[in-house]
């Protein structure tokens, strides 16, 4: 492939983010930093009951509090929130309320403290309805019904049904097996816990709504708002320039954007609605919890012959995501069947969090494979190598797949062959262990759009709808533009994340920014290059087709010394504008980034404390476009996985149905002290479907981390922890196998 052999000038270097200056000086303006004249502050009142009908709301006392400007609730603001509850209608305020934390009312006041005080003055009369917290209980016929169709969520079309997937002949697969193993693994609800609490600033100008949103996607946020408010797209503007993290729970438009918009409309003043940290933990969503029952058939050498997965996942009171489990994706399974039941309960919603369907079931499946390897007397690295995926669902080829190389290079780096020992055989108090697991995330190109304006001095202005949620997307887009145009990166300015100015973008979720918008940036660059060559051709006295542009010089391909600077070529052109909307074909292939993770741990057998002493993450994400932020994302994904492995769990009190630890301190996230030095290896090969050969980066690193750590703990202690989080008490109490 010609392009794969091309020498890149900008792609693949270690380049600081183009907006790093703004981020380290405090100049980057996040949504919460926006102050508008006459702006009001808003706060949200939440349900104290898991399931209750609101039979009365008295807001008179709250309204009398000086400074309070408006109070809204289900009675006076019945606005649908379509991305908040797929298939079943959900509103910004619902009656009945369906979990502790369901929004009941919002107040706008001249000051945030007044708004907060006013919440306490709202009298709400609730009529309690029976509730259910446990997903298995919720599936019983006599369980309280949370959704009109029952508690089993929608799996097929609009019908209440499990998610089912199968191929091969399961029965035959188990017949061919030398041994069949069965076990259950459990994961808990964890929170995205991004540092920036949800916040939205809304204002109306002559019938046009502007929302400064903390969103991962301005385009779909605009579409959501327009649809739910019944406005044409031209009357809605969504802006998100700097965003303080989301990891999947700031996709699209959310209820707080809507509440701010309604309050701004009623008061005719701009409104800033801020979530508290507790609001943020319970009011939106986290990662769905799961109970995974596996039946796995294997040959004596460890080769998988069949896998059956029956699982129940807890998606909480409203359906915002599928509740699927996909951790088996990285293995070659000839005969397969999974039945996943996503279940409604009266708990906090379980939805998108970085690689939504993966870390839970990578933990379950890779832990179980590691266990089976042990019982068969097979070295785990051989077990994972033998069963690594080669063709999607055993038939469709991948666009590129270097999982094998990830395993080889990663195991070499950590020194697997020298360091691996039989599980639980180490003497002493601090026991060494080593473990591994496989991960990754789907990749595909899709709909993207971009525009590039080339100024008369040869500088360029890239317009893309992407938001930069911390991935470095803005820089990556600039790098792609510089590479494709043939000008230095310093000559490119980027405007992003403003629907009034920037073209459509899919939204920064599902690791799709580079693969969706990247091709559009390349096409827009090609478009404007043609225009540049048209104006440069007469100046160089050749035909336009004979010209090329590199490092800011327009030159004759056959005679590179015949050249003029881009600035001179376009000096009289006014401004040239390249544009493109792209949706590259993707048929009969599957795309995936892959990874193999390796960890060494030291487990204190007296205290149950685990220290990660070394971590190696080998990733096949195709060509790495922007090396430094890519490495940072890998390291960060591992750190989030460490939190999920050891400490994070949103605990719902069984008696009151209330989440009792909705904060950083009690559902502890990793700190500087728990973060190991993550050694990142990129296995770089050109993927023919990715822009400049790149596949996805953001989601993959969290997928294998939890299982990798769990397997290392098993190797150290001979104890298999089958339920997250892996706390010291579980390690101390678990039987040695």
């Amino acid at each position: 492939m010609a392009q794969s052999e091309k020498e890149f000038s900008v792609v693949g270097k270690r380049i600081p983010r183009i907006d790093a200056y703004e981020r380290v000086t405090g100049q980057a303006q996040y949504t919460g930093d926006i102050q508008l004249p006459g702006m009001l502050y808003a706060r949200v009142l939440r349900s104290p009951y898991p399931h209750a009908k609101i039979v009365g709301i008295d807001t008179s006392k709250a309204e009398k509090l000086p400074g309070v400007k408006a109070v809204i609730h289900h009675g006076n603001a019945k606005i649908p929130w379509s991305s908040g509850g797929h298939t079943h209608p959900r509103f910004i305020f619902n009656n009945p309320v369906r979990f502790v934390g369901d929004a009941v009312a919002a107040v706008a006041a001249t000051d945030r403290h007044i708004a907060e005080e006013a919440l306490g003055l709202i009298d709400v009369k609730y009529e309690k309805i029976p509730h259910v917290l446990d997903p298995n209980e919720a599936l019983k016929p006599d369980a309280p019904k949370i959704s009109t169709d029952g508690n089993l969520s929608v799996g097929k079309g609009n019908f209440s049904a499990p998610i089912e997937e199968s191929w091969g002949d399961l029965e035959q697969g188990f017949k061919e097996a030398d041994r069949v193993f069965e076990d259950t693994y459990i994961t808990k609800h964890t929170n995205n816990a991004q540092l920036e609490r949800r916040v939205s600033v809304a204002k109306w100008d002559a019938g046009k709504l502007t929302v400064f949103a903390s969103t991962q996607g301005v385009s779909n946020a605009r579409t959501d708002i327009a649809q739910d408010f019944g406005l044409p797209l031209s009357k809605v503007r969504v802006v998100s320039k700097y965003m303080g993290g989301g990891f999947g729970n700031k996709n699209q438009a959310q209820d707080y954007d809507y509440m701010a918009a309604v309050l701004a409309k009623i008061t005719s003043q701009p409104v800033k609605l801020e979530f508290t940290r507790e609001d943020d933990y319970i009011g939106m969503h986290g990662r769905w919890a799961s109970e995974q029952k596996y039946k796995i058939g294997v040959k004596k050498d460890g080769t998988i012959t069949a896998v059956q997965l029956d699982a129940v996942t807890n998606i909480g009171a409203y359906r915002k995501q599928s509740g699927n489990l996909s951790g088996t994706d990285f293995y070659q399974i000839p005969n397969f069947r999974k039945v996943i039941k996503p279940v409604h309960t009266n708990t906090v919603v379980g939805a998108n969090y970085r690689a939504p369907a993966y870390p839970q079931s990578v933990f379950g499946f890779a832990s179980f494979l590691d266990q089976i390897a042990h019982e068969l007397g097979v070295n785990p690295v051989d077990m994972f190598m033998r069963n690594r995926i080669q063709k999607y669902k055993s038939k469709t080829p991948f666009t590129s797949n270097y999982l094998e190389e990830c395993i080889i290079e990663g195991s070499k780096r950590i020194g697997w062959n020298e360091k691996w020992h039989k599980p639980g055989v180490m003497g002493g108090v601090r026991k060494h262990g080593i473990g591994m697991a496989l991960g990754g995330y789907p990749f595909r190109p899709g709909l993207g759009a971009a525009a590039i304006r080339v100024n008369s001095d040869g500088t360029a202005h890239l317009l893309v709808g992407v938001t930069d949620i911390g991935t470095g997307a803005k820089s990556t887009m600039a790098i792609i533009a510089a590479e494709a145009l043939g000008i230095p990166l310093s000559q490119i300015q980027v405007t992003n994340g403003d629907t009034d100015v920037t073209p459509y973008s899919v939204g920064e979720s599902g690791s799709r920014t580079t693969s969706f918008t990247g091709p559009a940036v390349i096409a827009a660059a090609e478009d404007v290059r043609k225009q540049i060559f048209a104006v440069a051709a007469p100046q160089l006295k050749v035909k336009a087709e004979e010209l090329d542009l590199r490092d800011g010089q327009v030159f004759v391909k056959s005679e590179p010394s015949q050249k003029i600077p881009l600035a001179r070529a376009v000096a009289r052109a006014g401004e040239l504008i390249g544009r493109a909307t792209t949706n590259p074909p993707f048929k009969d292939v599957e795309g995936k980034s892959f990874s193999a993770h390796f960890a060494e741990v030291e487990v204190d057998s007296w205290t149950g404390h685990v220290k990660i002493t070394r971590y190696v993450a080998a990733h096949d994400s195709g060509i790495i476009l922007n090396r430094m932020p890519a490495e940072s994302q890998i390291m960060g994904g591992v750190v989030q996985g460490i939190g999920m492995a050891f400490t994070e769990e949103l605990i719902t009190d069984k008696l009151t149905a209330t989440p009792i630890n909705p904060n950083y301190r009690d559902a502890k996230v990793p700190t500087h002290l728990e973060a190991p030095n993550v050694e990142v290896i990129f296995i770089e090969h050109y993927d023919p479907y990715g822009p400049f050969g790149g596949k996805v980066v953001g989601e993959p690193p969290i997928t294998a981390a939890v299982a990798t750590i769990a397997n290392a703990i098993f190797n150290a202690t001979g104890k298999r922890i089958k339920e997250l989080p892996i706390t010291p008490d579980k390690i101390l109490q678990a039987p040695q196998v």
């Binding site: 600081p16 983010r17 790093a20 200056y21 981020r23 380290v24 000086t25 405090g26 100049q27 980057a28 996040y30 102050q35 009142l45 104290p48 009951y49 039979v55 403290h113 919440l119 306490g120 003055l121 709202i122 009298d123 009369k125 609730y126 009529e127 309690k128 995205n192 816990a193 991004q194 540092l195 920036e196 609490r197 700097y242 303080g244 993290g245 990891f247 940290r277 911390g470 991935t471 470095g472 430094m628 932020p629 490495e631 940072s632 994302q633 390291m635 960060g636 994904g637 750190v639 989030q640 904060n663 950083y664 301190r665 996230v669 990793p670 700190t671 500087h672 002290l673 973060a675 993550v678």
Partner: protein, 206 residues
């Protein structure tokens, strides 16, 4: 069954904020609350006709600002809302995450857990005060070179804790840097980058 519920009760935070001239502070250490010296209680003057309000002089980044603040206003709020210094972020507003870290009299503290009325006469340094004209602090430069910010929301706090460390100890070890920054959460998990930046800045300055 019918039941009546009146919104939120008294939260730990509103309790702290309504203390006014009390003397509870949260130091930037992961273990939590420590007491500060009661002699440091504020000496600001009450605003006539406005109960619960005082006028204080805040010395921020070398400049003095006379501002009227409510007793319940935290330093973080006043910096952001009244002085427009929005580089200081508020991540949890309850003394857990460190996004609001500023340097007060040479010490890194959570500004969400300091009331503005306690600040009379104290020297406050925020992220905006690190840049001299166009010249970045070496630590800011190191944060750029080492990819310190991912989403960037914790970055100001990380830098201020790093700066407070370097002001006291110009040659910290990696362990000392980790400890010094351990009260600053980074949910992007960019901890190794942030520590590397602090160590690089120390080497550069040394």
């Amino acid at each position: 069954m019918e039941d009546e519920k009146k919104g939120n009760g008294l939260s730990r935070r509103s309790f702290l904020k309504n203390l006014g001239g009390g003397a509870i502070g949260t130091a930037v250490i992961s273990t939590g609350l420590v007491k500060s010296d009661p002699a440091e209680a504020y000496t600001s003057e009450a605003v006539k006709g406005a109960p619960g309000k005082s006028a204080v002089t805040l010395k921020v980044n070398g400049k003095s600002y006379r501002v009227e603040v409510e007793h319940r206003h935290t330093l973080a709020e006043v910096l952001r809302d009244q002085l427009g210094l929005t580089g200081t972020k508020i991540g949890c507003d309850r003394g857990e995450c460190g996004a609001c870290t500023v340097i007060i009299n040479g010490r890194n503290l959570y500004s969400c857990s300091q009331l503005a009325v306690w600040m009379e006469g104290k020297e406050i340094l925020t992220i905006e005060g690190l840049t001299k004209g166009d010249k970045l602090d070496p630590l800011q430069e190191a944060f750029i070179e080492h990819d310190g910010p991912q989403c960037g929301f914790c970055t100001s706090g990380q830098i201020m804790s790093g700066k407070a460390l370097l002001m006291k100890n110009s040659t910290p070890t990696e362990a000392q840097a980790r400890r010094a920054l351990s009260g600053n959460l980074c949910r992007c998990g960019n901890y190794n980058r942030e520590v590397a930046a602090v160590l690089a800045a120390a080497i550069k300055a040394g």
